[in-house]
């Protein structure tokens, strides 16, 4: 049935001074939130438009793909442990790194962040009953799932999966250089998941602009929601360009166009044919998507960290408005830096892209210092989500510094397409998507399932991952500076690179072991649950006000929303969040009403 929703708060307050209740549906009495709505079982999964069900589907699919892609990486590292390993053929290795990159970037990091966690959490954080377009939301998930299957089908066709790298540079990705169905499946997988992302972006922007609860002004939204809004806008900027580029590449491959290929350019009376294609065009289009894409991947996880750090420091976010403006600045700058991936073509305007790339360090640095400021003078408890967030800080710090080095074209000339770059992007991506993402998993798992994950297993996961992370990627910086290129299935044995590669492989297996602990944690916490309650972490934002898991349409009661920490204000009237500009310390107002505006 369709639920026509009236917002919470249309009745008088009860004697318990609880916030007013929500009347659900069309005049029904309020429920305790446990009523079954609609179909159950497999049919529920196929037809549900509830953002929580969809978000969970996304997250489970994404984590499964993460494990599959991780196993691919393990094979790659095994191959590189010795210089001329015969574990994999060159063709298999090339397919593995293409698919590892494609799976992680298109099918795990993005969908987990904006399709999974944001889908689940953003409506809760703004006090909405669901996303703005529930059926579009469900369509996004099905396009994501089918897109993932499409990409993975590449392994099962003759000729194997795509082997041209996740960036699919033309003309290597043309039909003559990469024939077969595997590359086509890769490209079509990108197209399907691209549409999935675009629809999710529409949903995010619509929900955040239109479905906020009364009192939840834009500057009272949690930073995670702000980041998801900016991510949604970046998605709308970037993904259509990618989809168009991929469609054109498909046309080049199958319909005889010469958009990206310069082959077959014939001299006509000594002059080149005007219709010669340009491989540079693919690079420009792809990276115009590609660079905002990495910020689409990073910003949600920045948001997660900004949720976790205040809770476990028992302080508000430091510099809330600075965080918001820094996020906007990062998004704005990220659309202007795409050609820093093309410095070595010799065909791009070096100083323009260099200065903008260097400038991105400024808002990122602002966020960093705000995170530190959040913890300053706090009372830190090192729960698993907090550990992962701090691990993110360390990982991203070094990844960011090496990124600044790469933003300088002469340095980039020296290390482009070497393992230095591989180490850099793994540091930033693993730092954000893995450390930040699993911080989110451990943080919000109690809200989603009503039970706690085991802290001891979580700590094993963190420490093994943290140690394995540094052991894997630090040697890669060194060997990249020595000149080892990326995307190579073998390397000369007389250059002294083997010891670094061997250490890196050992690190990769340590990381793999850490993820075994996560699986065990999931199983144990399900079999022997520890009930979580509504707010096990004494957290601040609105989603912790409702039950765990939240009821259908999310809220039966809502507190008054007078700051960016409505749940905290309700639970701690002696330490209210004071609006920006009104002083730094609490003054003990009991009813949460603040008269002046920002």
């Amino acid at each position: 049935m369709t639920d026509v929703i009236a917002p919470p708060g249309t009745h008088e307050p009860t004697e318990l001074h609880l916030p007013p209740e929500v009347p659900l549906g069309d005049g029904h009495e309020p429920h305790g939130g446990h009523e079954e709505h609609g179909p159950t079982g497999i049919l529920k999964w196929l037809t549900s438009t509830d953002h929580k069900v969809i978000g969970l589907s996304y997250m489970i699919t994404a984590i499964v793909i993460f494990y599959i892609s991780g196993i691919m990486a393990l094979f790659m590292r095994l191959q590189l442990a010795t210089p001329h390993s015969s574990l994999l053929t060159f063709s298999q290795y090339n397919a593995l790194f293409t698919m590892h990159g494609g799976l992680m970037l298109y099918l795990f990091a993005g969908p987990f962040a904006f399709g999974g966690l944001a889908n689940y959490i953003v409506p809760l954080q703004v006090g909405a009953p669901d996303m703005a377009f529930p059926r579009l939301n469900a369509l996004s998930y099905w396009l994501y799932l089918t897109g993932s299957i499409t990409m993975l089908l590449g392994f099962f066709v003759a000729g194997g999966a795509a082997q041209f790298g996740w960036v699919a540079y033309a003309p290597l990705s043309s039909a003559t250089s990469s024939p077969g169905a595997g590359p086509d499946l890769f490209l079509m997988g990108i197209a399907l998941t691209g549409f999935s992302a675009i629809f999710t972006g529409v949903n995010l922007c619509g929900t955040i602009f239109y479905l906020r609860a009364p009192g939840m002004t834009m500057f009272r939204m949690p930073i995670f929601t702000w980041n998801m809004l900016v991510t949604g806008i970046l998605i709308l900027i970037a993904f259509p360009v990618l989809t168009a580029a991929v469609v054109m590449l498909f046309c080049d491959r199958h319909f005889g166009t010469h958009i990206y290929t310069a082959t077959g350019c014939h001299l006509v009376n000594g002059h080149a044919m005007v219709s010669c294609g340009s491989p540079l065009l693919w690079q420009n289009l792809f990276w115009f998507f590609g660079h905002p894409e990495v910020y689409i991947l990073a910003l949600p996880f920045f948001g997660i960290v900004t949720e976790v750090l205040p809770v476990f420091s028992r302080r508000p976010v430091f510099g809330y408005k600075g965080m918001v403006f820094a996020t906007m600045a990062i998004a704005a700058l990220s659309t202007g830096v795409w050609a820093h991936h093309m410095f070595t073509t010799g065909a791009v305007l070096l100083p323009f892209f260099s200065i903008l790339s260097l400038l991105i360090a400024v808002p990122t640095g602002i966020k960093f210092f705000n995170w530190i400021g959040t913890m300053w003078h706090g009372q830190l408890t090192f729960t698993t989500p907090m550990l992962f967030s701090i691990g993110f800080l360390f990982a991203f710090l070094m990844g960011g510094v090496t990124g600044i080095m790469l933003a300088s074209p002469p340095i980039d000339f020296a290390v482009h397409d070497t393992y230095f770059v591989v180490a850099h992007f793994h540091q930033v991506l693993v730092g954000t998507a893995v450390f930040g993402g699993f911080a989110g998993v451990y943080y919000w798992y109690p809200k989603m399932f009503g039970r706690m994950l085991r802290e001891s297993l979580g700590k094993w996961h963190f420490w093994l991952l943290f140690i394995g992370f540094w052991v894997t990627f630090m040697p890669q910086y060194v060997v990249g500076l020595l000149g080892m290129p990326r995307r190579v299935a073998s390397y000369p044995s007389n250059l002294g690179w083997q010891s670094y590669n061997l250490v890196s492989t050992v690190g990769a297996f340590i990381i793999a072991a850490s993820f075994a602990f996560l699986l065990v944690n999931f199983v144990v916490s399900w079999r022997k649950p520890i009930p979580a309650g509504d707010n096990p972490w004494d957290a601040h934002t609105l989603e912790w006000f409702t039950t765990s898991p939240p009821p259908h349409h999310n809220y039966t009661h809502l507190p008054p929303i007078r700051s960016e920490r409505p749940t905290w204000d309700y639970n701690h009237p002696d330490a209210l969040t004071v609006p920006h500009g009104k002083g730094v310390h609490t003054n003990g107002k009991a009813n949460g009403k603040v008269t002046a505006s920002v």
């Binding site: 003559t176 350019c265 420091s313 302080r315 508000p316 640095g365 000339f413 020296a414 500076l481 310390h585």
Partner: protein, 279 residues
């Protein structure tokens, strides 16, 4: 500026893992790297210390409610402005080195056309000498030490990367346009190179060498090899028979066509990319 002073004293600093550089351009890049690395240590180290300090100092000691400070405008302005200044400094240093590295001078002593293909290299000299090698049969490019060498880089088929680690330099070879760069090798020696942009199945094996000898030895080599190749055309290495594509629509012929070597493929300069490469 402090950064400039640091760059000037660069020769006494550690290399931080990079090559000092075998060409004059590479030396500039190396000093820039040292400057960036030091800036990275300072800024990164400072932030690292802050994080570590916070983790240890502010562990939970009691149930006392901590100060709920939400902002501090002066501090926030400080850590906005200071990074901007650092970035501007890094950018200025970058532009100075970048102009040195990408500069092409009007009259180089040696001009070599480099063609990349799947999976090897062709080095083509102005007097008709060609050096061609595939995968592990790596071709060696002879260059004169101490003089400017101009490379014009193209690809016959897909993107490749011309990368010499000890030159601290790489550039893409692309079909459809050519790109040019200069280098001045400082000392005699053999420097290994490798393709650095994924180009298909045997990308890992696309090796080459750059061998730098004295200018007189270079001229001798050029003359002798040119004469030998004219009388023994079969001694020139072979391009692969199934070379996928080429720039001007015909299979490049190299036997006895010494006059063509400078022209093949130069008719199609593609887009403005070629013009920008000389910035």
């Amino acid at each position: 500026m402090a950064l400039g002073a640091l760059l000037l004293t660069g020769c006494q600093l550690p290399t931080f893992g990079a090559y000092k550089g075998a060409t004059s351009q590479a030396r500039s890049t190396f000093h820039l790297w040292q400057g960036f690395f030091i800036a990275g240590i300072i800024v990164g180290g400072f932030t690292l210390l802050l994080i570590t300090w916070v983790i240890f100092r502010y562990r939970r000691r009691s149930d006392e409610m901590p100060r709920q400070t939400q902002y501090h405008t002066v501090t926030e302005i400080f850590y906005t402005v200071v990074p901007i200044l650092i970035v501007i400094g890094l950018f200025v240093a970058t532009v100075l080195v970048e102009n040195t590295v990408t500069a092409v001078e009007p009259n180089p002593a040696a001009k070599i056309d480099v063609y990349a293909f799947q999976w090897g290299w062709e080095f083509s000299y102005p007097n008709g000498v060609k050096v061609i090698g595939q995968t592990t049969d790596a071709p060696t490019m002879m260059v004169p030490t101490g003089q400017t060498v101009r490379i014009t880089l193209r690809s016959y088929d897909v993107l490749h990367g011309f990368y010499v680690p000890e030159f601290n330099f790489s550039r893409y070879a692309s079909p459809g346009y050519y790109t040019e760069f200069d280098f001045n090798v400082l000392h005699d020696g053999v420097y290994r190179g490798q393709c650095t942009q994924l180009c298909g199945l045997y990308h890992s094996l696309m090796f080459f060498n750059v061998r730098s000898v004295s200018p007189s030895a270079y001229r001798t080599w050029l003359r002798v090899t040119g004469a030998y190749q004219r009388t023994h055309p079969n001694s020139i290495g072979q391009l692969p028979a199934d070379l996928h594509a080429n720039i001007n629509g015909t299979v490049p012929s190299y036997s006895g066509n010494s006059g063509n070597s400078g022209n093949s493929g130069s008719g199609n300069t593609g887009n403005t990319g070629g013009a920008l490469s000389g910035d």
